[in-house]
Amino acid sequence: MKVESESPAALMISSVSKSFIDPRGREVKALRDVTLSVGAGEFVVLLGPSGCGKTTLLRSIAGFESIDHGSITLGALALDQLPANKRPVNTVFQSYALFPHMSVAENIAFGLESEGLAKASIEERVREMLELVRLVELADRKPRQMSGGQQQRAALARALAKKPSVLLLDEPLAALDLKLRRTMQTELKRIHKATGTTFLLVTHDQTEAMALGERIAVFSEGEIRQFGTPEEIYENPRDEFVASFIGESTSFLCSQESDLLIFESLTFPRIEGVTRDASEVHISVRPEDFSLQQGGFLCGRVVIADRIFNGNSVDLSVRLESGKVIKILAAVSELRDLVIGNERDLFVNPKKIHLLRQSGKI
């Protein structure tokens, strides 16, 4: 019997591992000892490049993949022991997977019919859902008669009709064009607030993750590298993968000399967390934390190599003596002084230097 989960419980993924055998017969570890705790009503995003395991985790929660080790629980309910059709969890598929031979209203009603509800209540819930996603006029249309965005909303309404404890979304916006994607992101947030359901969304697009997620789990090769709010992840990336995956940054492998970090012709201040004995320090800095204007810490001299006007900002490439190129972000107001070939001073915001790794003495 399906558990009535009107009061959302916390979704706990504990030490989940899963392996596949690929066509060549080799074992592929899709999930390695993954632990994740999702609070009730949260909007969590699983972010990562393709093949990193985020979709596998989502499908395991939905019940389409079995797990080899670990457990998935929803409050007191052992989710991983239930077959997919008995879990109070619903999915919005990447291809929408709307039933082509049914109208939108029939699609939405499908999940409700197996619950043994009275016809009138089903109709009412369907109407409620149609209003929620703003598809009321299209209730009797078949999926093939609708646009991609409309189909997406229909899939959303269908998945929310049963008022699941957790809504899983598998790259739902991937097939939409940019403008529509932005609109749908706003819609998703609105619907999330309106229903109060826990949302778990998978994407490879980091801007989408930052826009939607209350917390983001960054995946790579079957593991979670970092789990935190967008700000935390952006400001304090825990390792090089996260740093390079979220936003842009340049990393520097520096040596240490009397309280300074040296990389080729540049110097950085020794930041907090770097021990005196560290001989190799790996740091990263984002483009917007460098500047050619006075202020901050003077790193060294660079030559302006290239500039691209972005409308509201300028992407600059500056070159060191060795030839290494660093990307920095400049304001439009500086445009006049940015001449290719000029030598300028490079400054850095010392508070925005991120420590990635450090290793001991020689």
């Binding site: 399906k2 939905a62 019940g63 389409f64 077959p83 997919a84 059709n85 008995k86 969890v89 619903n90 999915t91 598929f93 990447q94 291809s95 997977a97 709307l98 039933f99 082509p100 031979h101 499908f110 999940g111 197996s114 619950e115 269908r158 998945a159 049963k162």
Partner: protein
């Protein structure tokens, strides 16, 4: 060698995609496929047209043209033996086609996405009538019935026909099933449906055109079947093809001309009708 642009210039036909533009040149250069192609079509249709024409032959000597007449058509239509055999074949083909389509649907559904080795072997057995010469399965079935002392009657013939038709019915159903996005079925489960509900509400409605095609295919195969029906023929199980074969053995005759012409025209009409109907549905 001709360059791309001259090839495109030579081709004045609009509406072809770019890869087709070279074909005029290619056809000219690849040795004489055109003549053979048309020739083989002629080869395929000459006999059929001959039969059609000669079914209207007035003379009693089937191979000598004696003038146009529909006389023999009325003879054939009033042939009670023929009609009886036809009725028998119909009464056999109808249940065969329904059973074969049902079993084939079950097969396609149950096999899902793959199975263990035992399933694979059984699957090969089910598909055997497709691969083995029909005489092998016919002999096998005959000896089997004899060993287990099953009499050769309508029911045993029906069973044999169903076995013959299932692999043919399976093909369009499996092919259609594969074309459907798997997520649709996952979505049905996700929304709480158990496997029977998925079958009833999602799988069968989506497979319906393929199931109909499978039924039609089985019907035709059963109606047309000769070898198995001959081997398993009992005292009262004369199918239409068996009756016709008996006539053919006696040599050419005007009745046979007419019967053959009918055997030609009816399926052709049926095929064209079904295509037109499919075109209409597609719109």
């Amino acid at each position: 060698m001709a360059r791309m642009d001259t090839r495109e210039a030579k081709c004045g036909i609009r509406g072809w995609n770019s890869s087709m533009k070279g074909t005029l040149e290619i056809r000219r250069q690849i040795p004489t496929v055109g003549a053979l192609g048309i020739g083989s079509l002629g080869f395929l249709y000459l006999p059929l047209i001959t039969v059609l024409v000669f079914s209207f032959n007035k003379s009693e000597d089937a191979t000598v043209w004696g003038g146009f007449s529909t006389h023999w058509y009325s003879t054939v239509v009033h042939n009670s033996d023929l009609l009886r055999a036809a009725k028998f074949s119909l009464s056999l083909a109808l249940p065969t086609s329904l059973l074969a389509a049902t079993l084939a649907t079950g097969l396609a559904i149950g096999l899902g996405i793959g199975g263990n080795r035992r399933m694979a072997i059984l699957q090969v057995l089910v598909n055997a009538p497709l691969i083995l010469p029909e005489i092998v399965t016919a002999v096998g079935t005959l000896t089997f019935f004899s060993a287990v002392k099953i009499p050769l009657n309508f029911t045993s013939l029906l069973a044999a026909h169903v076995v013959l038709c299932v692999p043919f019915a399976f093909l369009p159903i499996r092919s259609r099933l594969r074309d459907i996005d798997l997520s649709i079925f996952e979505a049905a489960q996700d929304l709480g449906a158990d496997s029977w509900r998925v079958l009833r509400k999602v799988t069968v409605p989506l497979l319906l055109p393929a199931i109909l095609a499978a039924t039609l295919l089985s019907f035709i195969i059963s109606m047309d079947d000769f070898l198995t029906s001959m081997f398993l023929s009992g005292p009262n199980t004369t199918t239409l093809p068996l009756y016709i074969f008996g006539l053919l053995k006696l040599g050419a005759s005007p009745e046979v001309n007419v019967i053959s012409a009918l055997l030609l025209v009816i399926p052709t009409f049926g095929l064209i009708l079904s295509l037109m109907w499919r075109k209409k549905r597609g719109k």
